[in-house]
Amino acid sequence: MTAVSAPAARRPVPATRRPGLATARLLRLELRHNAMLWMLPVVIALFWVTTYRKTMAMPPMWNLRAASMQSGAIVDFITPVAGAAAWMGSREARRHICDLVTITARPRWARLLATWAATTCWALVGYLGCLAVLYGVTAHQASWGGPLWWPAAVAAASLPALSALGFAAGTLLPSRFTAPVAAVVAFFTLALSTQLTVGSQSYWQVSPLVTGPWDTGPDAGVATFYPDLPDLPIAQVMFLAGLTTALLAALVLPRGSGRRGLRAAAGAVTAAGLLAAGTAVALAGTGTLDAHGMIAIPALHDVANDRPVRFTPICSHTSIPVCLNPAYASYLPATVTALEPVLSEIAGLPGAPARISQAAATYQQGAGNSVSVGLAGPLISGRPPVYYLLLPDQLPGPTMAASELAAKVQLGAGPGIISTFIGDSPRASQAQHAVVAALMMAAGLPQHGSPPGTTPAANSEPVPSGHSRCESPAARCAASSPGRAAGVMNQPPEVAPGSPAYAAARRFAALAASARHAWLVQHLTALRAGRITVAQLP
């Protein structure tokens, strides 16, 4: 081969710039060497010990479990994510390689962003795994409705923010102590700052731990008759996104992080992030507790969400059907068992309710963090008459087991149905008092308050106003809201033992059920009108 025949040397082909590939490779490297990966077992263990077990102990209702998951998951992720992010942020300084990496091809902000993104990715992987298990099990158990995604989104948006917070701390104050300090400070700030939440117009509601009216906890009464309001979650996500953006952009601000134009742009992004976060805080401060128990923010509110949810109630096949919202299907057997003795006493009598129907609760903000919950309309209405009730779980307080709920329904709604049916009240006749007492005796209900060893009926006792949060570990929060009795209180006056009314009641209760029924069919109208005396009772 001569020099002439030799192929001309090709011009060097410039290397193809594929920044996406390089970024992906950098991210892959960061993912492989990230402390958050080591924190995943800790996070999963925390989630199982605290959130999963607590949430699974709740009835299989999406509203309860989603709210519990949101606040629980965030608390579980605070310390591992903030700590791991701070640890990763301080890596270069800890290893004394700042000068070494300064001369690499990637700019400082790109390297930092890749490290933060890898930390956040692992945190999100852990969270999504926990969420998938919890929501998957709930989907298997829930009788009605579907997953609530806004609570899941708020918890997901919290992770990048926590990661950014820890990462910024680690980058700006690199030390081996930065990680635990960031973790503890983040926990303290988030978990204990909710102490400052007072009422539904508090700016602190922007905290991602807040899922509704503060201090009432997950409430089975919300988001079943009316759609779950996204107002507060939108403000929370906006706050978290703004905070994340501002923190990440602030990393580019120090001198030496990049060119002047880049730093100016980072300054603008930081300002925009802070503005978004500030706006979200302001929006949260305009929230109000709506009648359906959720926080409505006027600027973010969609009136379409005020329309009730359509559903077909599930009813029992008893003499008087008991109908519940399908979300509460798991409560139906306990409710029916509790009410059946009462319903069998009044079934077939003139004016007896054609149906016992669960109603939506109505909420009203009280002083401080107290919330009044009650029935919006009358106890009984319509033709044929329908008796409306609130299940104890629709009232603020901890969720309860079926047996607890049955006891509360029996002691609260049972006497209420009889009393309403007979027209008993403090101004009613002694005969009415006696008949109500007799029917309660026949149905096996206690006469003078709750029997020893049982909790008071949910809708039988007015409770003092004040914080709905329990102030004593010994007490459960069941009866802390002033509104627990509102709207559903129609308890019969007590009949004193030894009184003529009591004797008449015992006499009437001792009759055969058919005899009582026959007498009531004949005399009920007169009894309600107050024209029957105690002496006339059989």
């Binding site: 402390a35 080591w38 924190m39 800790v42 263990a45 925390l46 010990v49 605290t50 607590k54 102990a57 608390v75 579980d76 605070i78 310390t79 591992p80 700590g83 640890w87 800890r94 290893r95 030390s175 081996r176 102590f177 990680a179 635990p180 300090v181 973790a183 503890v184 926990f187 303290f188 978990a191 204990l192 102490q195 906890g217 901890p398 914080h467 949060r469 329990c470 102030e471 004593s472 570990p473 459960r476 929060c477």
Partner: protein, 226 residues
């Protein structure tokens, strides 16, 4: 040899010529000082002091029952994390091989820091309503420090904070269940138990003893360069 090097040689040799066996207390003091410096013990003491000051300031505020009970736990966890972090060694294997007194130094440092943390937090609660009192502080700090030391042996001194801060969440949840049952009554979640609970004290003491033993014998699992 350059002039500069020539100047250096006598200077370097001078101490050799005049070297006398150092007095044991001075040598021991120097060893302790070097150990404390390499483990960032002064910074840990500062962190513990900051926790105590933070607790004192926080106790001035009004807290409801939830906050009042959970508040000391946060600062106790912070102190325990600071203790655990001091186990990280920047020297690695050379020190392990040559350091005859290393196990004793580890033990002494961990014990002294735990005692300092308990004293500082208890002092911070003096005259204020510190939920659980000094006994609670002693039990919780010792137990969480033990967790931190065990984490240091397992994960490395740098990540040892994960133990106390993770346990902080469990402890806070245990306190929460005192209101919202079913309450967690296992003594292994000692922050949720009353200060005089013997089972909780035994569990915390066991974890502390185990952590001390492991860290004394083995030291923290530290990759060189961290």
């Amino acid at each position: 040899m350059t002039a500069g090097e020539a100047r250096e040689v006598p200077a370097a040799a001078a101490p050799v010529r005049s070297a006398r066996p150092a007095r044991p207390p001075r040598a021991a003091g120097r060893l302790v000082r070097l150990y404390a410096t390499s483990r960032r013990v002064p910074a840990a003491v500062a962190a513990i002091a900051a926790c105590a000051i933070g607790l004192r300031i926080a106790l001035i505020g009004h807290w409801d029952s939830y906050g009042a009970l959970q508040l000391p736990l946060v600062f106790e966890a912070g102190s325990a994390a600071a203790i655990a972090i001091t186990t990280a060694s920047p020297l690695g294997d050379p020190e392990r091989v040559a350091g005859r007194w290393l196990p004793f130094l580890r033990l002494a440092a961990a014990l002294a820091l735990t005692a300092a943390a308990v004293s500082a937090l208890a002092a911070a609660g003096t005259g204020a309503h510190l939920a659980g009192g000094t006994l609670d502080v002693l039990r919780n700090v010792a137990g969480m420090a033990g967790i931190g030391l065990l984490c240091a042996a397992a994960l490395g001194g740098g990540l040892a904070w994960a133990g106390p801060t993770g346990y902080l969440v469990v402890g806070a949840y245990g306190l929460y269940t005192q209101w919202h049952g079913p309450a967690l009554t296992t003594p292994w979640i000692w922050p949720a138990r009353p200060p005089h609970d013997l089972g909780a004290a035994i569990c915390a003491g066991l974890v502390f003893t185990l952590g001390m033993a492991v860290i004394t014998v083995r030291g923290a699992r530290d990759p060189v360069g961290e």
